[in-house]
Symmetry: C2
Subunit: 408 residues, 2 copies
Amino acid sequence: MKTIAGGICAPRYFLASGIRCGIKENASKRDLALVFSERPCSSAAVFTTNRVQAASVIVSREHSRSEKIRALVANSGNANACTGQAGLEAARRITELTAEKLGIAVEETAVASTGVIGVPLPINRIEAGIANLAAILAPNGGDTALEAIMTTDIRKKSTAIELKLLAGHGTPIRIGAMAKGSGMIHPNMATMICVITTDAAITAAMLDRALRRAVDRSFNRMTVDGDMSTNDMALVMANGAAENPLVDREGPAWEAFASALEYVCTGLAKAMARDGEGATRLITVTVKGAACEEDAAILARSVAGSSLVKAACFGADANWGRVICALGYAGVPFKPEETSVEFTSAAGSTLVCKNGEGLLFSEERAKQILLEEEIEIKVIAGSGSGQAVSWGCDLTYDYVKINGDYRS
Amino acid sequence: MKTIAGGICAPRYFLASGIRCGIKENASKRDLALVFSERPCSSAAVFTTNRVQAASVIVSREHSRSEKIRALVANSGNANACTGQAGLEAARRITELTAEKLGIAVEETAVASTGVIGVPLPINRIEAGIANLAAILAPNGGDTALEAIMTTDIRKKSTAIELKLLAGHGTPIRIGAMAKGSGMIHPNMATMICVITTDAAITAAMLDRALRRAVDRSFNRMTVDGDMSTNDMALVMANGAAENPLVDREGPAWEAFASALEYVCTGLAKAMARDGEGATRLITVTVKGAACEEDAAILARSVAGSSLVKAACFGADANWGRVICALGYAGVPFKPEETSVEFTSAAGSTLVCKNGEGLLFSEERAKQILLEEEIEIKVIAGSGSGQAVSWGCDLTYDYVKINGDYRS
């Protein structure tokens, strides 16, 4: 497996474009994107579990039942959520117009929105925008498409890899992906749009299984602020252009594909946590020794999501009591009396708690470790075989600043 | 019912004292308190549900099975949590010494601790302190006791009321209370110590029932930062000095007592939310129209606990989409399409969302409303009969500052 350039357009026959169409108040920023496969696709998607769902989520969920999504229109600056019947009609109109411009069926299109909730979508501008987007679709359009889905994101989150599913067998397949999300991010899913493209030949059923496992181990294990959005969506489209033997069952080829997809999603999840609103540090929480993987994941997320742990990390304060405390209210069993906590980074590591009790450690050294941009909190929570990783970020003045007046 | 002076010493035959004994790094601050009833008590207590429990919680839970607690020693500056066998022995030693000094049984004493986790308790200083505390117990010592349990609290949280349980029947009874807690506060329970005294004659069983209902509707409905402490405890001691007819069953007298207790606890819960670390605003979230009270409480807490809602309130930004979003991930059913949201304060009120859709409203007017120190978010979530209130506070720069380096 190797990393390649090109993002979502790295897989063959995928095109993309991104433009400004006047949805964002800042008119200099792109806000409308299109991703399109020139060939038919099998597809799979997962959506937010929030009981309030954006119009785009409702429509895309309907269309994704076709398992043939090959085009996605995404806008930033407006979530098209809590916009009633008009919002739903706007989302349908977007998919209809996109299908018409691209000469595909409407159930082959999806729509995603991110931004402010409860403000009517400026559908007229988007209608004009879709015609422009279709006209400028290009194999090097991935970067502008990515810019057009960003809101408070600072860093661009995009990746592409290439690998052979079976050694010595045909052309390698490629997977490309882009994602946005930096606030309102919490399992399950995030204020997140993730678009994954691949030229692998794989059935929709096998694609769905791979996506769900990958999402569960990546996006569902990251947290920025505990808020779960009305708009989250992860979509994968596979057009088969690599002409590998069709992956239509579990086995070595599927496992290779699913692992690669998980690798891609994990990378984006870490990038999202690292780019959390106002964040200065990526916090990786590793829990081992839990009863099972699910328990370990819940424990790890509880630590990564604790406001007090996050604030302590911002202050580079080795306040491990808050780690123990967050394990304690996670809601799953563990062994406090067997629990150890270690802080690790490029600057070294220090064990601060063993068998549930504090150890003497150098505060100065711990501070040096925690001042790094990427820190890891390693927890052993018993002697079980369950382990999992969760990603989060620190809680900073800038998080408060960004969210104290997001709309103005 | 009327408010009276005296706090925990307002009920007859309760004495208190508070001193500096050198647990807190800031040696000018009081850190050890004693509350004592000169007469035997019936008692009830509730404790944190965190799986990691402080030594003081373990010991007090044991002793409270006696239903006869009449003395409480509380320290601030050290949580005596994650301190192993030595911590447990220290907690036992505190209760033994207190019982000895006061001439009561050890199972009549309880101990509470609040502060940093994982640091050995300086038991020698506390031993010397207990002798001093017992020597200066006084009916006007409530205020010094209160000071001695405060950590990052800014405001003193104390109250006392007087009422007759049955009209025209004997002397009025009194309830006094003090509480600490401003960070690491979330249902169920908080980094909270709450001590309630009363001179009512009431059985332990009836006291327990009243306490649980009051705590469920007060402390369990407030949230500061979503973190639940290892040390929470609410204790009520009733010495019967009012000589009212013994409350030994449900009925009008019990209902009057339970309502009064709920009033006291609700007042302290609001005061705690208002005094949340770094908070500039008290946020009251009222949910009506849910299927039942429990669902309403979960919805209200989800809104009050959302980092994004809290940050928006800090910025006086009427970002009601975040309110809807927090309702959506609360995990209980409601009717998004029937939901309305209104912001209210002393400066007026403005309906911003009706039937799940945004309304046109004046942002300027909304800002004026949200700039008040006490704001209310009123939610109607359907047409059910369930309603509940939750209290929280805004998320501010100072929360981050306070928690970025609490220990130094």
